[in-house]
Symmetry: C2
């Protein structure tokens, strides 16, 4: 009797960005585990158990799903976006490494999804068209000084930067500090994109300059892309502008 | 008469990772443009024109597609993986900015896809589970010195690094130089993943240490993930190991 655990990426929101691979996996599972609002996106199926848990209980959720799979069941753990990007896949690996020997024998599959930075980038053009970084602004699991050094490295190195987990009630000041930090290296005119709930109710995309970027534009569901010094805006008559980073970096290396 | 151009991400390969949004877009287009091997992945439809072009003719391909759309047609330009990551979306924006005024009035949509680093990461666990960078090793459009500085910033800053366009017949030495560069900052034991053609014929995934990483393992279809100092390997009895980067970075900030 060998159980299986799939960690399934739902993509940014709507079912039209859920891959067929992920849909089949969700459909076939004996039980689903996940953060409530993510589970709510998955169509109900008779006889399939659902176990929702709070956003912050990632370790416990992973252990519950692994324990259930170890009984021989086919279990799917749902994740927003891509499970490998600041999401459940690493949480599951952490539990496997430190947990029951039986968990190492489980068939574990990670099913990728469209992560938020790709969905937001697509809405405005191609801001990630050149080298880029993804940084989580949550200092729950790392020191703020580490985050600052990475923001410095990204902005001074000519990377475009995608900021995940930018703000929450418990972390109100980090995003403002991050913008301040990046303004040391980047022109105030640097295009900056705020995108939330892409493909879902409440979708909102804002293109603004880094100089004018205000943390109050963001909430927990927002992903922010700060351009490099080379990122450009193309104005279009009667339409939203396009934002893109050219594939070519000049001789200056900016 | 207003034409439209969609730049559509095919994901890593098989149709089971193509989003429904992308499938609908490809199905409904009057004409498809793209690099031949990518076009070959799209099911044929009667009455739909196909224009394939060489890998290196991205600017010309974008212009052809824009010109076609400007006649009022619904045109889809296909891209492997995600069109916004080292692919056609930026090439299209470049052409729009520098090209015919009419191109700015077109309805342009970027349809995201699973980019290679997400597909490769999913196959082995969660190597991108913490802050990470994506760097193209192609020095066709930027100086090698710029790439070196970014490799330094990524490896010294504690980022995991995904290397796109690692090697080709015209660029045989860059990957070896990149590994050498990263070995200055990272332990020889740093887990390194080579993944090629995920979900397609010829899929191959290799997990190796940075010290033993050899450029000859890679070809043009390969994506490489070099871990950070915190990336870990979990051995499993009779199964491929899991590779993951913990969500938590220690106090040392590594």
């Amino acid at each position: 009797m060998s159980g299986s655990l799939s960690v399934v990426g739902l993509g940014p929101g709507g079912l039209d960005t859920l891959t067929p691979e992920a849909a089949v996996c969700l459909q076939g599972a004996d039980a689903l585990y996940g953060y409530g609002p993510y589970l709510d996106r998955v169509p109900e199926r008779r006889g399939q158990a659902r176990h929702s848990s709070d956003n912050r209980e990632e370790g416990a959720r992973a252990r519950d799903a692994l324990n259930h799979a170890a009984t021989g069941a086919s279990v799917a753990l749902v994740s927003g976006g891509d499970p490998g990007v600041f999401a459940m896949a690493a949480a599951v690996c952490e539990q496997i490494e430190g947990g029951a020997e039986a968990w190492r024998s489980l068939n574990v599959a990670i099913v990728p999804g469209i992560t938020a930075m790709l969905a937001v980038a697509a809405r405005v053009g191609a801001p990630l068209g050149h080298d880029f970084c993804a940084i989580s602004l949550s200092d729950n699991l790392k020191h703020w000084s580490v985050i600052e050094r990475r923001l410095d490295a990204a902005a001074s190195g000519g990377f475009v930067t995608a900021l995940y987990n930018p703000i929450s009630r418990a972390r109100p000041w980090q995003l403002g500090m991050a913008f301040e930090r990046m303004r040391r290296y980047l022109p105030a005119s640097t295009p900056t994109v705020f995108g939330r709930a892409i493909g879902r109710t409440g979708e909102r995309v804002t293109v603004i300059s880094l100089g004018a970027a205000d943390p109050s534009i963001a909430d927990m569901a927002t992903l922010i892309i700060v351009g490099s010094a080379l990122t450009r805006v193309i104005e279009r008559p009667g339409m939203t502008p396009l934002v893109y980073t050219p594939r070519s970096a000049g001789l200056s290396g900016a």
